[in-house]
Symmetry: C2
Subunit: 259 residues, 2 copies
DNA sequence: TAGTGGTCTAGACCACAGG
DNA sequence: CTGTGGTCTAGACCACTAA
């Protein structure tokens, strides 16, 4: 009985099994990409029922150690490359090189970047975005939604929102590729001189859609970052809403000391 | 059979039940703090077995909507206070008021702050901290570990590390309460003029210990923040390692645009 | 003690992937 | 087709909590 094993160790059987497997993964007995023994095999090996094995594997999944695929099996997760989002990525000098920040960052780390444009076009302002932009809810905005990849693995999904009145004066913004230096370069070329960026960072569990879009395990955490670009006049001309796979990013910020 | 219901909706029964309950919570039918119907009651109401109900409740738990207590029942989580860590919280002018940043932030939001000092004393430098401080691994450091509360609920655990050579010259740092303005004020009084703070932000799932310390549900995400305090001379005099319950914080950063 | 959530079983059927 | 993970049941026993 399970209760017997429980008395022996003071720990649920499914956690013992999960720890056993986790040790094998961390020690390299089960290498990244390798198939984890099937449920029925683990059932036999430990003499437990399927439900117990499933609970054990669920533990490993939320710990980010394995990913499960219906009909195929469970596999040890290969650790994805970590990208570092530094706060000086918005320097104008970087834009002059003509490359977007993510390209430089990713290639510099020896990885292959990729972007997929999901949508570029008009959209009614959602409440939270409207708040940031200082416009009415439901106002017409330009939305630019794209998904970023590193070595073919999706890591990030970002949507930029701009008031339509600003966007229509900058024709490049309606194209999939806004050109060298990205949309901030285009905005500054059209007289919107940027003074600062304000970022707010949250962390939470991924929604079902995000789990799919970013190929995450259920229960995996994401970083939700909202950045507002503010001009010299104090106007917010763009808001960028980004959802990142938490285990693939580290955010860096430099805060100058002041009085 | 479950398969029948599955065909009807294309959705697993346990998710239907979870969604039903989630709707009742969001619509206010089940208010914060209220007891969720017991497993046996839900079993009867939906005509499913205990395992199915448990999976549904597990969903609500990882979604942060509910907390379960062995032997007592499940309760709708009362929305926790959100503290806003603005990047200007380290201004010297705030320190002159004599209050620590967390006190001002928490009281300003209408909540009752609390601190519990867990440890103040010497410690050997862990590798990552040693890297930040630019000292050898295993060097003698002063460690100051404390847990922060909001309205009695633990929200954050932070450890400050300082090279022992610096700490021993500032006697207040060895006391539980370092005095008005916190350790940054003491450091500046002793000639360490701070030029900037560098923060690195990660998000991940809580470990077992963190789950206990911060009273989180298993599988809940945390924000892991490491801040280095840098002097005019470019020396790192303090590193603060903080783990926060992700759903209780929003981090704010202002990034000045520059060339 | 009664009621609650936590663990476990033995067996069933389903949906998916691959040979 | 076989083997895999995903869902579900009916029933059992345990551990914790509160009356």
């Amino acid at each position: 009985m399970g209760s017997e094993a429980l008395r022996h160790s003071g720990k649920p059987r499914y956690l013992q099994i999960a720890d056993d497997l986790a040790d094998q993964i961390r020690s390299g007995v089960l290498a990244p990409g390798v198939k984890v023994p099937s449920e029925s095999e683990v059932m036999g090996r430990y003499g437990v029922s399927q439900g117990t094995v499933r609970k054990a594997v669920a533990e490993l999944r939320t710990a980010g150690l394995v990913e499960t695929h219906h009909g195929r099996g469970s596999y040890v997760r290969s650790l994805p490359p970590v990208r570092r989002k530094s706060s000086d990525r918005f320097r104008r000098s970087h834009r002059k090189a003509g490359k977007a920040a993510y390209l430089v960052e990713t290639e510099g780390a020896g990885h292959t970047p990729g972007v997929h444009v999901l949508y570029v076009g008009p959209m009614d302002a959602p409440t939270d975005i409207a708040d940031h932009l200082g416009v009415a809810e439901g106002s017409k905005l330009l939305a630019r939604r794209r998904r970023y990849f590193v070595d073919g693995v999706p890591t990030e999904e970002a949507t930029s929102y701009l008031p339509w009145s600003i966007a229509e004066a900058v024709p490049e913004l309606l194209r999939d590729n806004p050109g060298g230096g990205g949309i901030y370069a285009r905005l500054e070329e059209h007289g919107h001189h940027l003074a600062e960026y304000v970022e707010t960072v949250r962390a939470r569990l991924a929604t079902k859609q995000e789990t799919t879009a970013l190929q995450l395990s259920p229960g995996a955490p994401v970083i939700h970052l909202v950045r507002a670009a503010v001009t010299d006049e104090g106007n917010v001309v763009e808001v960028c809403d980004t959802v990142m796979a938490a285990d693939r990013f580290v955010l860096d910020y430099r805060i100058p000391a002041c009085d």
